[in-house]
Amino acid sequence: MAAYHQMGHDSWNLVGEDELRSYRGLVLSPVNNGPAEMAEKLGALGSLRSALDVVLDPQFYKPSSDRGSLPDWSHITNDFETADLGDIDWWADRCRKLLQEGERVGASSIASPAIIPRTFDPDYYDSVVACADLMDNMAQERQISTLVTVIVRLAEVAQPGFAERIASIVTRSRVNRVYLVFFDDGSPRAQRTDVDALAGGMRLIRTLESAGSRVLVAFSGLDMLLWKSAGATDVATGKFFNLRRFVPGRWDDADDGGRVLPYWTDDDFVTWLREDDVRLLLKLGLIDADRAAVNPFSREILELLQKHGGEPWVRLGWRQYLYWFGQREGDIEIGKATAREILVHADQHWTALDQRGAYLFERTNNGEWVRAWLNALLLT
C-alpha cells in the first residue's frame, strides 16, 4: 500500500519533497537522532506529519552497539553483556522505556525490540512474539501501535517449511503488523541471487499477508519488486542504497555520510549504474533519455551529464532512486505493472547489451540477478 522512508544519516530534507509525495511513512532510527532532536524534526514537518505513519525502529539488533545517537535513548542500556536476555522482565523494562521514548518523539508505531540471535530457531521467534505481545499490552494505554519485528536470515528461509513454521509462530501474536528484516552477508549493491532464498522470502511474505498480517519489509532495495509481488503491503528504503543490505558489518562501518559515489537507478536494466556506465549505455542507445526522463531526477542528471562539467550528482541520484522506488511500488500495488513484466523487460535489455558485446565498467554489475529474480517469481 505504501513506500516508507527508511531514515538514514541526514535524510530529513527528503521527507515531503514534492516529487517524493508517494511515500506514506517514515521508519526512524535512533542511531541518527537523539529523542529531542527527532521530536523537533517531526514537529517541523507541520501538517505533513499527520499524513505519515511514523514507525520507530529501536535498533536493538546489536545491543552492544553505541553508534551515533543510540546512547541518548533511555531504552538503550549498558547492561546488555551481563543481562539475561531470556528474562522477559528485562525486556519488559526495555519495552516500557521504548514506549516512553516513542511517545516523547511522537511516533505512531514502534517495531518491537529484537536482537540478532546466534541461531534463528523457532524458540527465538517464540520469544520475539512474546516480547511484541508484551509491548503491545503496555501500548494499549497509549496512542502507539506495535509492529512485531521479524528478522530472518534469507539463506534459512530457503529451507522447505521454514517460512510456514516462522509465519505460524508470528501469527500467534495479537500484533498483526510485521516489520520484516531480511538478513544476509551480501555486500552493498550486490544483488541477491539465491533463487530458493528469494522464493522463500517471498513465500514468507505471502503466507503472513494471507493470514492477515500487514508486512512492512525494511531495508529494501531493487528487490522491492519481489517483496511487492509477494504481496507485502509496505516496503521501506533509504537514500543510501546500501541500507538495503542488512549485514553484520553494518554496525562496524564508519558513518559514510555523503562519501558514496553517485549511482543512477535504471528502470530498464533494474540496476544501479556508475556514471561511466551511464555514459556508455547512452552512447550505445541502451538508455532511452526520453523514457528515462519520466523520472524528473533522471532528467536533471542527464542534463548535468550533457554539460560535461563534472558536477556532482550524488543528491540527485538519491532522489532518482527514491522516486523510482515510490513509483514502482505504486505501479505494482495498483496493477499498472507486474514485477515479472519489469524483469522480463530488464532481461531483454541485458541481452541487448550482450549482443552489442559491451561490458559495463563495474565488473560485478552483470544483471545476473534478473533471471534469478524471474525464477524466484516462478517458484513462489
Binding site: P122, E164, R165, A167, S168, A211
Partner: protein, 280 residues
Amino acid sequence: MPIQMDLADVAAFVCKQRSCSLIADLGVGAHKRAYLIEQDGARFALKIAPITPSLKPRFEREATALAGCKHPSVAVLHESVPLSLGGNEFWVSIEEYLSGGTLSSRVAAGQVDHALVRRIGLSLADALDHLRERNLVHRDIKPANVLFRSADEAVLTDFGIVRMLDAPTLTQEFLPQGPGTPLYASAEQLLNEMVLIDWRTDQFGLAVVLAECAIGYHPFTPEGDVPLAISRVAKRQAVPPESCEKLAAAGFGSLIKAMAPWPVQRYRYPKDFIHSLSVE
C-alpha cells in the same frame, strides 16, 4: 506399606465423606475411572485416578485451567483435589454430569445429522475462543471427549493434557510425538513441535471431528486406512481432494482451511472460523 485399593472403594469413600450416593460406574478413560454420584437430587460425575509423579502435575494443571473457565460448552469442574487413602495417593475430581452421552456413541448410533454437526462446531469453536483468551490449548479434541448436556448441547470435556501457553510445558522436548490422540492430532502435535501449539491446534482437531461426522469417514483417509491418515497429517499433506469435494457438497467446505497443514494456513482467530462455519 500402602494397601491395594480398588477405585470403586475410593469412590465409595469419597461419597461417604461428602454424603453422596454412588449410582453407577460410568467407565474408564485414559487415566481416570468415572462414577455417577448424586447429592440432594443433583447428579455429578466423580472421577478418580491413582496419582503418579508424572500425572500429578497434569491433574493440577487441569484443575487450574478449568477453574478459570466459564463457558456453556466447557464442562464444569466443581472440585479437584488429591486424596490420601490407605497409604495411596489419588486424584479426585467432581464434574457436572453430562447425561447426553458422547459424540462417538451418537455417531455410532447414526444420530448426528448435518444440522447437529454445525451446531456442535459453532458451540465448540466458541469454546475454543474462550480457551484462547485464557492461553489454554485442550490438545485432545475427539468424539469421546465431546459430551452432551442435552439433545444438542455439546460440551468439551477431559482437559487432562491441557497446555497452558503462559506456563512451562510439561512435555519433554526429546519425545518424537506430543500428547494427544493421534487420529485427531495436528501435524505439530504428532511431530512434538511445541512452539507451534496454540488454539489453531485445537481448531484442527475440532475440524477433523466435524468433518468425520459430516462425510462419514476420517477426512484424511477416504480409503479408511487409519495409519495412513495419521501419516498424511504428519507429513503435512493437504486434505485429499475426494474429501474436499465431499465436504464442499455437504456444506462444510469451511473445514478444509481449518485442517490445513500449518497453523498459519488455518483460521487465525476463532471468530473467523465461526463466521466461515456459520455462513455456509
